[in-house]
């Protein structure tokens, strides 16, 4: 059975593959900050709230990427405000926010339209990736990449120690908000590829695997992107072969690489000890 040829000739598969590669490339680098700054649960909660953004987008008839970015940014700011109030621990707030937003999102979508493909939003469906989505990915993805690269050393220093960064004239609060905004764009553009429920794993598994193999922050980011790219190719290929949803298949491929990274890192250390 030949599966490679249709993968490379069918335009909708090519589009899906291209979309997946862009997401993997950007998520690997963005994800390093998620891992370093312990934003995994934060990112996951924001991604859950994205479904409410999708619902609003459908209701108001505006672009779904845009409505997700707007709603997630609103939730991120709400969260920062609630965190400063210190009424509840952050994980409690995140838990409430994530599941309340997801539930209200599902309820709204059910009321609005009967035939919407909910599973496609939750777990990704690369077959629905259209030209406009590719544009969103190219523009949003490059914006994230260039912003991270331009502010790289300030972001790394701030992640190591915020007071030290501030003493060296890094505007810490501006960068924190910037990072949050980049996260909302990342979520919006990757919904169709990996799905709302799996965006966080796309962000953390590749950097976590890459951590074992890297010796510098930059190296960790580059290897994370490479791992993401390999997983996307393997995941999308398997997703066609076995007719499975794209998001979970890609994440399963990531998980396999994560497990393999442990014995691999031992070999790395033997070849070139620190």
């Amino acid at each position: 059975m030949d599966i490679i040829t249709p993968m490379l000739t069918e335009p909708f598969i090519l589009k899906g593959l291209l979309a997946g590669l862009i997401v993997a490339l950007v998520a690997g680098i963005m994800g390093c900050f998620v891992v370093w700054r312990r934003m995994a649960y934060f990112g996951d909660s924001l991604a859950h709230s994205a479904l409410l953004g999708v619902a609003f987008g459908i209701a108001l008839g505006i672009d779904l990427n845009l409505s997700v970015i707007i709603l997630c940014s609103f939730f991120a700011l709400l969260l920062v405000w609630l965190q400063r109030k210190k009424l509840f621990a952050t994980d409690t707030l995140l838990g409430i926010l994530a599941h309340a937003a997801l539930s209200v999102g599902v309820v709204t979508i059910s009321i609005l339209e009967q035939r919407i493909d909910l599973q496609g939003y939750l777990f990704g469906d690369i077959l629905t990736v259209g030209d406009d989505q590719i544009w969103w990915l190219v523009i949003g993805g490059s914006f994230i990449l260039f912003t991270l690269i331009l502010n790289w050393s300030s972001l790394v220093l701030m992640t190591i120690d915020e007071d030290l960064a501030q003493a060296e004239n890094v505007s810490v609060s501006r960068l924190q908000i910037l990072l949050m905004f980049l996260m909302t764009i990342m979520i919006a553009i990757s919904i169709k590829i990996v799905g709302i429920l799996l965006i966080a794993s796309m962000l953390i598994i590749a950097p976590a695997a890459s951590r074992q193999l890297s010796r510098s922050p930059e190296m960790m980011a580059v290897i994370a992107s490479l791992i993401g790219v390999v997983s996307v190719v393997a995941g999308i290929y398997s997703s066609f072969q076995f007719d499975t949803p794209s998001g979970p298949t890609i994440v399963a491929a990531l998980a396999v690489i994560f497990v393999v990274s442990f014995p691999l890192s031992k070999i790395f250390r033997k070849v070139s000890p620190v």
Binding site: S154, V156, D161, P217
Partner: protein, 238 residues
Amino acid sequence: MTNLISAENLTIRRDNKKILDNVSLDIEARDFVTILGPNGGGKSMLLKCLMGFFTPDEGTVKRESTLKIGYVPQKFFSEQTMPISAIQFLQLRKKVTPEELKMIATETKIEGLLHKPLNILSGGEVQRILLARSLIGTPEILVLDEPAQNLDISGQLAFYKLLSEIYEERSLSILMVSHDLHMVMATTKKVVCLFHHVCCSGEPQVVTQDPEFITLFGNDMAEMMAVYQHGHNHSHAH
């Protein structure tokens, strides 16, 4: 003599409480000032105010815009999830020539640590790396926030010895928050006791006999300091 940093009547309020209450402080060239006081008394806040992290609710901080500050933060934890070596950390956002780096590494005794990952270094080693970073670019003033907090006694001794060597050899000022007054007594020129307001300030010998100092730290501390000073003066007599 001109002041490097000059703070006048600083007041900072948080949730209707005065964290700093009408605090004035001048740091001169070649000064060595240690801020002492109970936890939660606004010591770190004062440092951050002097460096310009916060704008005070009342009062003014005057600082040359070109003043080069080297900062050693409080409670530094190396992030386990980030692979970064000591030398990469030192060069992060810093323009440093190989010669300067080599000189500072010798000065702070970190030559052997440069290529090790930051997260495997001991508390004392990390403090020396932070001190080295603060020295890049020849600062006019070093600001240290409880730099020896997480070190054991011998680590504290070694760190303060290193710091006083740097103070002797370089023409810079030092502003430090520290609980370990008995260890910096010999080099500190001026002690400022802070509990929201400046309780007392002046030379260490004078401050430890101040009634306010005794109220704040109790008789035992004052007596311990007196004993230390006696020993110190005594050794000079020989």
